[in-house]
């Protein structure tokens, strides 16, 4: 095939692909944007039209002020849960992955089995509520953080174990000879070297936990405990005929992951591929 024909193909297919991708993937987001800036009457018509009247600021204020600034509380809660859970996941997951990879023993099979179970088995929700109630953790933010950790450990351990294999033991041994205790070896030598996979884990899990709807629905009922997704869901009832506010809410909820995506685009792609294919 001649070079010019290949180049032309690449351009033409690229253009067609761009058109299709725009219609399929980008248009829904444009729709959200348009609905979010319209007035109540215009938004209720669901049309894909340019707004006749713009009121983005007004809508934003209305949504944020609803029910005593509930959205701000929700943002706070979601952020606390996400940051708390991801921090623990990084530390705990790396610790387990480290021991798993470095110290072959009978226990490894058990841990592998647990990882498999953790990836596959759907959480038993009502018994979990029962356990949480027994521990006094039901309806608490710290309870929710621990739940997210429990559900995310399998993936974290998998990711870390596979990556630690690339760190030569010589580094550990050098540190041990220098008199470092196990914790110091781990935190001072190993963990810094795990930065790439840690970044991947942080990005992936942050987005997953921030977007999580089902788990807070079951384990975190209560006005003081609202998360961002729950607020969006509940506001369907609150804004029943105010679609402009509902979509402004959607916009506000999708922005944090969008920002994370824009900043960490490369890391996400890199991390997903190493973890996904090798795991």
């Amino acid at each position: 095939m001649s070079l010019r024909r290949t180049a032309a193909r690449r351009r033409n297919i690229g253009l067609v692909a761009l058109l299709v991708a725009t219609v399929v993937f980008i248009l829904p987001f444009v729709f959200i944007l348009l609905m979010a800036v319209k007035t109540k009457q215009e938004a209720s018509r669901f049309l894909f039209t340019w707004p006749e009247q713009w009121q983005p600021w007004q809508n934003l204020v209305d949504v944020v002020q609803t029910r005593n600034y509930m959205l701000l509380l929700a943002y706070f809660n979601s952020t606390v849960i996400t940051v708390g859970a991801v921090t623990l996941l990084v530390i705990f997951g790396a610790m387990v992955g480290y021991v798993l990879q470095r110290r072959p023993s009978g226990w490894n099979k058990v841990i592998y089995a647990c990882v498999l179970v953790g990836l596959m088995v759907p959480p038993a929700v009502v018994p979990t509520i029962w356990v949480l109630q027994g521990l006094g953790l039901f309806k608490t933010i710290h309870g929710m953080i621990l739940i997210q950790v429990a559900y995310g450990l399998a993936f974290a351990v998998l990711l870390y174990r596979s990556f630690i294999g690339t760190i030569p033991r010589a580094l550990d041994e050098a540190a041990i000879i220098d008199g470092a205790k196990p914790l110091q070896v781990f935190f001072k030598v190993i963990l810094p070297l795990l930065k790439p996979v840690t970044v991947t884990l942080i990005v992936v899990q942050s987005i997953a936990i921030f977007n999580d709807f089902t788990n807070p629905l079951y384990y975190l009922p209560g006005k003081e405990n609202v998360t961002v997704q729950l607020t969006l869901f509940n506001f369907q009832s609150q804004f029943q005929s105010q679609y402009n506010l509902l979509f402004m809410n959607i916009l506000l909820v999708t922005i944090p992951p969008l920002l994370v995506f824009i900043f960490f685009n490369r890391q996400i792609v890199a991390g997903m591929t190493t973890g996904g294919v090798k795991g």
Binding site: R9, R10, R11, I13, G14, L15, A17, L18, A21, V24, F25, I26, F31, I32, F46, L47, F48, I91, F92, G93, M95, R102, R103, C114, M120, V121, P122, P123, A124, V125, V126, P127, T128, Q133, L135, L146, A150, L153, V157, I176, P182, F186, N211, F213, T214, V228, Q229, Q236, Y243, L246, I250, V253, T254, P257, V260, I268, V269, T273, G276, V277
Partner: protein
């Protein structure tokens, strides 16, 4: 030399183990017991297999089971196939390739509830943009989310829209791992592009395929968010899946029945995914 304490102490595993065992393993094991009871969180009255009998007797509970299977197979199947095709397209050097990769992946990152609400508006039978667009082409669009015959598939389509980017990404990585030598060799042997695809690409991208199929199958079987955000399992029970059935029983206060549903879901995943993984791992690739 005295016995050295390992620099990789067992207790490193302890914090993770405590959290995992208490908040995951214990409830899972407890669910086996509670599924055999009539439970209201305070009292659990043993009733044997009644909950399970109910699940397989009541038509709408059975329908939830069937729908779960259909939903999982459809979403997993389409994501796998479409993901691979998109990955091939997006690694072939066309214009805008990098941008398109991001565009395809972006829906994976956004709020499921947000996606659900948006598509419910887009799919409105008379006011929705999709049907208005079809109408301008002269096609009478169906009631996507309220026609019982297609509601489940409409929701599956939304799921695929949201998740295909992840499959594509994994496949792109898998494709990158295939050494160009294989393509060279096959081209020298006179293979067409289509033959190259079937004989070289598909077999060698198997690790990615396994990952994609397994992840999307498990995800599809457990799916809840999008269904709940769009149809709540309706119209009637047409788009109910196990996860939404479990939630409805939980809401109605039938905790034993909800837990039985959980056990059934777990068994379903185990029965489908384990043999599949085993089958994938035992197939040889002849080069």
């Amino acid at each position: 030399m005295a016995t050295r304490r390992s620099p990789y102490p067992y207790w490193f595993v302890l914090p993770a183990a405590v959290v995992f065992v208490t908040l995951f393993l214990v409830p899972t094991i407890a669910s086996l017991w509670f599924s055999l009871t009539r439970w209201d969180l305070l009292r659990a009255e043993f009733i044997g297999w009644d909950n399970y009998r109910q699940f397989f007797k009541e038509p709408f509970l059975v329908q939830g089971l069937v729908n779960t299977l259909i939903y999982a197979v459809v979403t997993s199947g389409v994501k796998s196939v479409l993901g691979l095709l998109l990955a091939v397209l997006l690694t072939s050097g066309i214009w805008f390739q990098g941008f398109l990769r991001s565009v395809v992946f972006f829906p994976v990152l956004v709020s499921t509830i947000g996606v659900g609400i948006t598509f419910a508006a887009l799919m409105h039978p008379t006011k929705g943009v999709i049907n208005l667009g079809l109408g301008s082409l002269g096609i009478d669009g169906p009631a996507w989310l309220s026609d019982p015959a297609i509601a489940l598939y409409s929701v599956a389509m939304i799921d695929i829209w949201k998740g295909v980017g992840l499959a594509t990404l994994i496949y792109i990585a898998g494709l990158a791992a295939i050494s160009p030598e294989y393509y060279e060799a096959s081209r020298i042997d006179g293979a067409t592009r289509l033959q190259q695809f079937w004989r070289v690409t598909v077999p060698l991208v198997r690790p990615a395929t396994v990952t994609v199929v397994t992840l999307s199958l498990i995800g599809g079987l457990r799916s809840f968010d999008i269904i709940w955000a769009t149809t709540r399992g309706g119209p009637g029970f047409a788009s109910d899946v196990l996860a939404s059935v479990i939630y409805k029983q939980y809401q109605a206060g039938f905790y034993g029945l909800a837990t039985a549903g959980n056990v059934i879901l777990f068994l379903l995943i185990a029965i489908i995914v384990l043999p599949l993984t085993w089958w994938f791992n035992t197939r040889e690739v002849d080069l």
